[in-house]
Amino acid sequence: MSGYRIAKPDHEKNVQFTFNGKTYSAYEGETLAAALMANGVGLIGRSFKYHRPRGVFSVGNEEPNALVNVIHPDGLEPNTLATTLEVYEGLEARSQNCWPSVNFDAGAFNSLLSPLFSAGFYYKTFMGWSNKHWMFFEKHIRKAAGMGEATVEADRSVYEKKNLFCDVLIVGAGPAGLSAALALAPTGARVILADENAKFGGSLRGKGASINGQSGGAWAQDAMAYLKGFDNVTLLSRATVYGYYDDNTLAAVERVSDHLPHGDRQGQVRQRHLVVRPTKVILATGALERPILFGDNDRPGVMLASAVAAYVQQFKVSPGREIVFFTNNDTVYDAVDEIFAAGGRVKAVVDVRQTLTAYAKEIVQRHKLDVFVGSAVQRTKGRKKIQSVLLADGQQISCDVLGVSGGWTPTIHLQSQQGDAPVYDDILFSFLPGRAHEDYVSIGGCVGHFDTKTALGDGLSAARQVKGELGLKSEVENLDYVVSPSAPWSIAPVFEIESAKGKTFVDLQHDVKITDIKQAKQEGFLSVEHLKRYTTLGMANDQGKTSNVNALSVMAKERQLPLSEVGTTRFRPPYAPVSIGALSGGEFGDHFRPTRRTPMHDWHISHGAEMINTGAWVRPRVYKRDGETIEDAYIREATAVRASVGMVDVTTLGKIEVIGPDAPEFLNRVYTNAWLKLPVGKARYGVMLREDGIVFDDGTTWRLSENRFLMTTTTANAASVLTHLEFLLDVVWPELKVKVVSVTEQWAGLAIAGPNSRAVLTKVLSGIDMSNEGLPFMGVRDGVLASIPVKVARLSFSGELAYEVWCPSHYGFAMWDQIYKAGEEYDMTPYGTEALGTLRIEKGHVSGPELDGRTTVDDLDLSWAWGKKDFVGKVLAGRDGLRAEDRAQLVGLVSLEGQAIKPGSHLIAAPGAPSLGHVTSTTFSPVLGKYIALALVKGGRDLVGEKRIASYPLQEIAQEVEIVKPHFFDPDGSRMHV
């Protein structure tokens, strides 16, 4: 046993771990900080800016100094707190922000230049010359400063998310939280008790102070055992509630297997992200000790007084061999008492108060302590470890640990996140939660009730209050607690020692000194919000948990204002750092977002389709044959369609049934063109506008019966068109008797196109006269395909003789397969989205790239669809801006240099000239043997026949193109009407 370990923990297993490459021994259940202390390791890392040596400062997640890198098989985790990381067999950790080692760190050179590196140094020195200048320096600055280095490897750990609901969420399982849970458990209320630590009990853990005749620690253990017996109580340890959001929603991270050896983690979830939606919340988040500010207060060995006691009590490890305390309040004397009770020793106490309370005197006398009353620590001495403290009166006390207590700061982050501004209390010299809130109750240390008796009473009161608010019938038991006395509240409002020598750090994690705050004030950054951002005070991982109040006191003194008038910043989530993996949960890879597959998906895959995501849908892009490029494949496919026949999966189109006696009138108002006289069994192309006159969507709508229509939309706009229609019916025209129902998923569809398409369908369809007269252009018929009921519409997106065939989705695969086989004698060619695009560009049909939310009916050369009647968007489509002569108009482009025209290219008259418009869609046209494109060009219709440059400056591509009409192929549509 080392000189620092007071006793071996009971029932804990011995484990081996490494720190900076050296192997040490520890016990399961210990934190890395405790284990390193037990092994006499005091130097943990280097500071953020000046690379000063730093050791363990605290015992929890308020830790500003002891941050380490942890290496595990699933990746590297930087900025892990040694004070919360539990050791396990095989743990491998190393210091961060140091090179080549923590003992000899080249970056410590920065410390010599510290007079230069005051607040605002980087802003003043490296910014403002030019952006390039900053970009050059930034990477070097980031390398020299900062926390741990994030890994570039993918995180292979498993994370998951979970939603929890309950009547009462209790945050914090210290005396107040436990008391509330004990009172609520028998009522039957669904209670969740969450605590960030591995073991419940909060400040009671390891404490000798008694409750009902038991030690605090034993009482907490019994309480947990009792609570475990209730099905309505959920106990969450290692669960940090980090955010409190609207509608009483809280977020937490449960560290499920971070404490387990690597071998035991296989397949296990590492961390679980919890979203908790309770009816009521009880916040029993306790309080954190804060230090007093003095010179060189950052040396390894300078710690919070309560932390010194906690290591002795909870882990049976003494942080040092010569422990001195420095305080402005009585709670340190409780710590002294506890340390002696646990087998530790304290050398002396330096107390800034002029007299001791009777409570303190009794403890001092009992332990025969040296006490320096009315004195103060001016600075520490030592280098990588504190060796002594120098008092203001010149006395020097040798020590290797200095425990400091400047009072207690209630942990009110969650209340502040709710928007309740903290209120300064000038008896506690701390901020307390603001106004009472209907959703939560604050109890115990977080409302300044630091003694155990009051905290236990708070828990009972809160239980009664929420029980009443929840309307629970069972009574809350009248539990009575007999508690040994705690230290009385007696504090001197001393935040800093004015005669301090050396560097006095306020924010240890970001190396912010008192002089930085003074400088910020001198430069006019008076608001605490400005002070925070200028100095980066409280902006590091620890969010200033131990530094905020002291920093505000410095600013208050500088501004000669009461601290209550200086105010404090609002806390924002997260209360403690949250790993990105926990936030993403399982949403990566295949689970990043869901994908939609058509019924013919497996056919496409088995026939060599290269798939592409179009929104959530997965569609065939091309069906590649051996040795083909994508361009080879789509040219072959498009050529086959023009020459014989091809088929494409169009299941992804949006489909909406529009039903009711007023359906024709409704469509007449929604579309720009007329719909009242569309006969049953016919389809019509329609364009709809947004309210502002811009084209929204287009597609065909089929009249299935007198009062029933089937509207098709573009794939991309299926959901938004349905929402648009529902809005119009619910809000604008509720008098219309019309229902709209999405049937996108009900129908599978294919388009068969090409001169032989009729011949193929005639082979397999029954019940439909497939002649030109029997099923004319835009005709719609019901038929049967090998016993599958189908709807056939004679429509053409390709410009060829073409049909769309629809069937109930489950039969989609069979329908596709039947038609494909029937077409084999005609060299049936399945085609993908690339060839689909080629065929429609050759015909000048607009699609998504042209319907870009900026174009009008006239821009797209669709004025023929402009009806005389009223329709949505008509009024605002008449605005001057939408009717201007220089608007970009749809034109065609032909490459004069035989090169592909890149989409997004801009049309210019000469190099350096302003843009005339941009290229929307491009392809190689097999029928023309040229690269062609559609474009939106200012006054484009008047430029037909002229030449311009298509420029793509990002890749320095420019080529000459000719502007032509957008209908490249079969402009009179004769091929569709055979």
Binding site: E160, N163, Q746, P808, S809, A814, D817, Q818
Partner: protein, 181 residues
């Protein structure tokens, strides 16, 4: 009828998963349930909704999914034909959606734990009673969730998303102890 054996969008996946997840004492049993008929009934304003439900037999599950709108689920085909006899065009609009959804059933003591990973719903029986339905999302997929017993839920999802939801359910369930039936 031509070869329509592959009516389920996840038939092949379910086949593979059945061989992979065979634990007999599983906490959750996942299965696909065939939908023979699914019909949406949208009543016109002022129409008598309850009158129809008195005529329905016990086999039909009625899910109230929106104002005046119900999904009727039956294990028998041609429900829409029956409904067309019972409901006039003046009363309601009928839409056959039998091919639009896939249904998964989850049962077993681990079902609520599995679902809580994706459903932002309180699964306590006081909040989500038996034979009630809720519409929400799981992993960005819309689901209609029907509770048939304390530990049995049926999830209706768009047919096109069935593969993605199945993948999610298996991923979320395999640590709970999963059997695919």
């Amino acid at each position: 009828m031509s070869d329509t054996s592959s009516l389920s969008p996840v038939a092949s996946e379910i086949g593979h998963l059945k061989e992979q997840f065979i634990e007999k004492s599983a906490a959750v049993v996942l299965s696909e349930v065939e939908i023979a008929s699914l019909v949406q009934v949208s009543f016109w304003s002022g129409a008598d909704e309850k009158g129809l439900f008195g005529l329905l037999n016990e086999d039909i599950k009625v899910m109230h999914t929106a104002p005046q709108t119900f999904l009727l689920l039956s294990s028998k085909p041609d429900l829409i034909r029956e409904l067309e006899e019972m409901v006039s065009e003046e009363q309601a609009v009928l839409t056959d959606l039998s091919h639009s959804r896939t249904m998964f059933r989850l049962s077993g003591e681990g079902t609520c734990a599995l679902l809580s990973k994706g459903l932002s719903l309180d699964l306590d029986e006081r909040s989500f009673a038996f034979h009630t339905v809720k519409q929400t999302t799981i992993a960005h997929m819309g689901v209609t969730c029907y509770r048939t017993a304390a530990d049995t839920f049926e999830l209706l999802v768009f047919r096109s998303l069935a593969g993605s939801l199945l993948t999610w359910l298996v991923e979320a369930g395999h640590r709970e102890g999963l059997r695919v039936a």
